[in-house]
């Protein structure tokens, strides 16, 4: 076995130390799993919406007027429908907002904050962190945090990287920014501490998963073969099974959605049904606890068994 770390080598030629180093860049540390959730609840329900609006198209160059027009439907159709639904159910959720979205639609962000929802960092223009030089990633992350604070009057405590894309520098920058939690990785179903090269960072991961993401089942891209092939009733069934088993396990049901994906008339009922179903287990002791991502992460850390 070659005794070198040269990236020119094929992975099957790597020294053990090389793949070990890769594996340990960012890794799951201790599990933060409380015996029970707030007020004795058995399951934490954390709903989130990534308000990408025009930024997906801008991030790809902004040349398609058709795809750009798709973006604002998140603002004109998706967000109002989601706000109305959450308000009717009295549920608070988390919205991850690229800075460019916030500048295009500042009133949308202020209304969400006024209604008690959490706003989290979601990059500048939905850029992929893994292709950025370190200084650019740092600059964009700081500017994004400042922009959101300026618009909403609140400082964000958590971040979801755009496209869940994590660079070798992301974790250190999140720590530098003093963030309490990240919600972009998926090594577990419970909250856990993120380790950097084996060292504790104090940053909590509230894990996401493709299986609990609306885009996976409903995304549409004209020039690739991405199509919304899964019937909405089956998507509800998948999410409901995740929720029921999280309840059985005493764990977290975390869900990632997008205003321009879930907000359509033929899909929004899925969220309505999910919330109803969760409420049917009761709230408080032995039931479910609806909470923002920040509340779940903070509670998990403070009450880990």
């Amino acid at each position: 076995m070659p005794d070198t770390h040269s990236p020119q080598l094929e992975p099957w030629q790597w020294a053990d130390s090389h793949w070990q180093k890769l594996v340990h860049q960012v890794r799951a540390g201790r599990s933060y799993r409380p015996k029970a959730w707030k007020d004795g609840a058995r399951c934490a329900v954390a709903l989130s919406f990534d308000s990408d609006h025009e930024t997906n198209e801008l991030r790809d160059g902004g040349k398609s007027i058709g795809r750009m027009a798709w973006g604002p439907s998140g603002n004109r159709v998706g967000i109002p429908r989601i706000r109305k639904l959450l308000d009717r159910h009295g549920v608070k959720a988390t919205f991850y907002v690229p800075a460019v979205t916030a500048m295009l639609y500042p009133e949308e962000q202020r209304a969400l904050v006024a209604e008690g929802h959490e706003i989290g960092i979601h990059g500048w223009i939905h850029e992929l962190n893994s292709v950025l030089p370190r200084e650019a990633e740092r600059d964009l992350m700081h500017r994004s945090a400042d922009t959101l604070e300026k618009i909403t009057g609140k400082r964000c405590v958590g971040m979801r990287t755009p496209s869940w894309d994590f660079s070798p520098n992301t974790l250190a920058l999140e720590k530098e920014l003093g963030l309490m939690y990240d919600s972009s990785l998926m090594a577990d179903e419970d909250c856990y501490e993120l380790l950097m090269h084996g060292e504790e960072t104090g940053v909590i991961e509230l894990p996401v998963e493709w299986v609990r993401d609306d885009a996976v089942y409903f995304s549409m891209h004209r020039f690739s073969s991405l199509r919304p092939y899964t019937p909405p009733t089956d998507v509800l069934e998948i999410f409901r099974r995740e929720l029921d088993a999280a309840y059985e396990d005493g764990g977290i049901f975390q869900l990632t959605m997008h205003p321009h994906i879930i907000g359509y008339r033929s899909r929004i009922w899925i969220v309505d049904e999910l919330i109803r179903h969760a409420k049917s287990k009761g709230q408080g002791k032995g039931g479910v606890w609806f909470a923002t991502h920040a509340e779940v992460a903070a509670y998990a850390r403070a009450n880990a068994a």
Copy 2:
């Protein structure tokens, strides 16, 4: 942040003025939403069919005799079946027809017009507008309008860009051509005015959506991985949910179909069921209003609240 608009920059390097300019090229302006639809109806139902026939294959170079043979099934099988179904239900619809289709099948277009359906512009040979020089796009748009008028005896008042592909020049050319409406964009569920660089144009958008397009679920392309993976019963359910919620909202149920996609024996029943379902809500006051796209756009503009 760099103070330049150079397209060589990565999107995350753009000055704010650059992405703002891109976003404002073509944008959704005021919403045209009537309190009620014609005769007090609660929901407008606008069915449309894009009669592409051989033009998809021709647009791609016309080398595949197999795919070319697929085209005329729209004329021999799809259109006759659709005409019979619409006639049985007394429903008028809109057919968007590339000029080349109209020249290959002029009698088909005349029969549709004679039966009271609307014909709209759909490009020359199903070309993508976004790759055309401005003068070519202008020439093809004018020639397409003239060709359809010559064949059908009627001047078109609306246009759907082929593949819903919109260039930076399309809107100005639609305005120059004096079109009342466009049906290619998707920033809202209600009709809205199209703005060009922030200026009103008087052109109304009657929005489309991938979620309400048969091709998304049923398209087949041998050399890509596009396959008709969604079961037809589930496609009906998606469309029915869109219709039911549009009725609840007092909005528009707009649907895009294709003779060579929906016209098959195992799919045409979906349209039959949808029309039946819409009719079960009654017509006129408190019910549905079946109308062509031109009628819906004109009514929305004239009666916006």
Copy 3:
């Protein structure tokens, strides 16, 4: 509009004469639609199986031992299961067999012919006709016909091009070979005469369709994103709707399957159910007529209304 046929031009620049020439290379002529099928049956049921076995992998270069191993399952598992099923139901079908498959498994072909099934030409090694020089296509087509005749003792009267891929020379070569019918194109649901540059050829097309092909729903390719995403029960429903509506129309229910696709334990029951369902309409007058593709094509031509 440029006055030239140069292929360097973009399709939207073509003279009308150019796309007209492309459209008329091979085109659907008169429809061969009998008032009733044999013995007064209302619907012809034509089942077919393309016995590709190893040839799909060989055609692509034959480098994958894994995919090659997949091939013989058609011979060891698929064909025996299909023969048993057809025998139990007393139904005759058509098998399209590449010459290389026939040479690898000559006993399989003889057994099929002995049981009354039809064997049709399906290329040499499942080559794509559209990339062959004319002389190579001619040579392979003749050698394929001769090889099958030598092995089975019967001369084929019909052909299905591998992958339904048709070159500008295919039709002329089919005519030269004296074939009665082709089954590779899809301009209609009824049999029709194939026209070559507007001239009658006497060759009948028995149309296929992607919607009635098992590979569309069940194909698996490791390195592309092709996956068997459609549930088998839904595939049965699609086929059954096609069959029921063909019966209503007094037309043909034609189906394309593959031993290495439909032959699995979790799929073969679809064919069983389809045959049962067809039989439930009765056979003979007012019912269904199970026939080989050659029988259907010959009957349609001889009894067209």
Copy 4:
């Protein structure tokens, strides 16, 4: 026909001897099909799990921290859940483990062996065999066998090639390593002997199939169009049909799963239901026999009819 084996030739130009040679590199020989399974059981049920964990991402270069984080969920979530389920049902299964996975998680492997499960070879770092030089493939295969033995204390008797990818040298190396069986190919539904250039090798194949692989229906890859489009209830139905028909046939029901795919809350119930369903047929005489892959292969060889 050209009289040469040159690989520069197109497949349709190959001499018959060339494709015959390709076909016979590795081929299915005699079938090993016992009249009944152990204790008179009618069906052998062989469940397997490929414990890839981080190795899929490492094999592709290890650059994505996001995808890497996905890996350990197999260890933290998937494997514990699978162990618990198998233990509750008293079922033994086979786990195919890349050497790098075993070095990252040695306790996981020891616990599995202690509970009576089989560990099989699954490559070094999930490398594709077909791109390796012969000596590299040989070295990795020997080192993988030695690493697993060192960690678990047991010598493996079977192998599943990573990604079911088989090189022209794989079979000879498996024979050299003295393996009893391979489980990577799919020429039949029963066990069979592998032939190398027409010669018997003594190595038994316990066949896999894409139709019986969870990854086919549930895989997710962000940058390709792979998505988990098939609803879990339909995946259960496919597997159940395979099981029921294997029982009818007196054959084997073999299933390939992955901890990081089947281990989620919304999917693990499929395995639970399958085991329940199998048990409902009884165990022992006339029922099912749950066994590891090694037990099934050994029994099939020793008791072939």
